[in-house]
């Protein structure tokens, strides 16, 4: 079992927090071109901390863009799938950048910082692709800047995340759910966005890259447990939040992924809209479903094959994990609609052994 001793390949990017992760005992692995901690103590330990207390994740590898200029909102509405006009100043929304086939280039969160000023948070592996796509379509009079290297980002998640904010920033209030706030403190711009990727209350916090490690350490000293990508993945999958590149792809539309709620088909034209409209009219051939083992079994993982009970190969898992909260195997897969009904039984192949799973309602895990 030699491969448990991980080595990171060369030519890989590091976040401003990399040295601190190693100091904190983080096990570093390559992820989306970045050297990132997969865990510090154990995935179950860190997962539980977020469900029951508060954890902090380095998300500095994600990208930050700013779009400025009169009419930025109206232009963005022709590029992204959700309706930007619904955003008040200080509010954010989850949305998609689609290709002409309606496929997902990236899923991202945008915040309306001010009139004519939008803050965009994009996936790490998609920074260059997203920037090129936006820049290619950019309307005259608008300015797009990629500030990904200038910012450090951290996600603070868990039922005690609000109390932790109050401790670190006395007198300052967290914005409402999906809101953002930006302020100056000791000569530094700080941003807080009340969103998350775990199903818990929490927020994303952005500081200057130079002060990122100091802030991360302050959160830890105040009670947050440092958490790695492993827990981030198991937490997000329990609540069926998609991972771009796994559950979302340029060949899959948000409608097939069950995320039509974030596509405002009535708002007017945007790239990819025609395909989504047609899919809604004609009906889907396949859709992304939640699968849960009916018994015990080996952890399901992405790319494991999914078979019908008749032994027909249907698909492969896009994500899978042994859920730390539920202690059951959970996963997602695009299945033909005939096999996608709730209660349908399938088999997941793990190294030649088949474990039965059932199509269940999303999400797998709900608070309370």
């Amino acid at each position: 079992m030699t491969h448990i001793l991980r080595r990171v390949s060369e030519n890989i990017q590091e976040t401003p927090l990399a040295a601190l992760h190693v100091e904190l005992g983080g096990k570093m692995i390559p992820f989306a071109g970045w050297n990132m901690p997969v865990q510090y103590t154990s995935i179950i330990d860190e997962h539980t901390a977020v469900r029951e207390d508060v954890g902090i994740f380095d998300i500095s590898h994600m990208g930050q863009f700013f779009l400025e200029g009169e009419g930025a909102e109206a232009w963005l509405n022709t590029i992204l799938a959700n309706d930007v006009s619904k955003l008040e100043v200080g509010q954010g929304q989850y949305t998609f950048m689609l290709n002409e086939d309606g496929g997902v280039i990236d899923d991202l969160i945008i915040y309306r910082q001010a009139e004519g000023k939008i803050f965009l948070v994009v996936n790490a592996s998609m920074i260059d692709v997203d920037y090129a796509w936006l820049d290619k379509h950019l309307a005259g009079g608008l300015t797009l800047t990629n500030e990904s290297d200038a910012w450090a980002g951290m996600a603070v998640q868990g039922p005690n995340s609000t109390a932790l904010f109050a401790k670190l920033f006395p007198g300052r209030e967290l914005p409402a759910r999906n809101g953002m706030d930006i302020w100056e403190q000791d000569g530094e711009s700080l941003v807080v966005c009340r969103t998350g990727y775990t199903g818990e209350d929490g927020y994303e916090f952005f500081s200057s890259a130079a002060n990122g490690s100091a802030w991360f350490q302050k959160y830890i000293d105040a009670g947050a447990k440092p958490c790695g990508l492993g827990a981030r993945d198991s937490l997000r999958l329990e609540v069926c939040y998609p991972l771009n590149g796994s559950d979302l792809a340029p060949t899959r539309t948000p409608i097939e992924a069950g995320l039509g709620f974030f596509c405002a088909l009535e708002k007017g034209d945007f790239i990819g809209r025609d395909v989504l409209v047609k899919q809604k009219e004609d009906g889907l051939k396949e859709r992304l479903v939640a699968l849960k083992y009916t018994g015990k079994g080996a952890p399901p993982r992405a790319h494991y094959e999914v078979y019908s009970k008749d032994g027909e190969l249907l698909s492969e898992l896009t994500s899978g994990v042994l859920s730390p909260s539920l202690r059951e195997g959970i996963g997602m897969a695009y299945l033909p609609v005939a096999s996608a009904k709730l209660g349908t039984l399938v088999d997941i192949d793990v190294r030649g052994r088949k474990f039965e799973a059932k199509v269940v309602k999303k999400p797998f895990y709900k608070k309370g």
């Binding site: 079992m1 448990i4 865990q39 995935i43 080996a298 952890p299």
Partner: protein
């Protein structure tokens, strides 16, 4: 790091206890600490004959699956059924209740040729 003196070791982080021609095999304290939470162990079938280096079992944490190799040639004579109910025994008692499988070895000299505790300590630093 716990490395008992009475065992033999492989560079793949398996330990071997030889008793009456039967080798009990598990993964070391160092290996379980690297893997962290073991959530599933796939055991080998009884009666299977194997060569040294054959992958015969799989130990899985939440994030990764790791093959466990048979350290010596022989015949599998039992897997640790307790791991089906409680795979975490590999973490909590790697050299005891967390053993993985037993092999009737073809040649006991091949076990004695494996690394001793001092050699393994040198390997893991």
């Amino acid at each position: 790091m716990n490395v008992p003196d009475n065992l033999r070791y492989t560079s793949d982080h398996e330990w071997i206890l030889l008793e009456d021609g039967i080798a009990t095999v598990g993964i070391t304290d160092h290996a379980q600490e690297e893997l962290t939470d073991v959530v599933f162990v796939e055991l080998p079938d009884d009666g299977r004959s194997c060569d040294a280096g054959d992958p015969v079992a799989v130990v899985e944490s939440v994030k990764a699956a790791s093959d466990i190799y048979c350290p010596i040639a022989g015949e599998i004579v039992g897997g640790n059924a307790d791991l089906e109910a409680d795979p975490a025994l590999v973490n909590t008692d790697p050299y005891g209740a967390g053993w993985i499988f037993k092999v009737r070895v073809n040649d006991v000299a091949t076990v004695e040729a494996l690394m001793d505790a001092e050699g393994y300590k040198g390997l893991i630093g």
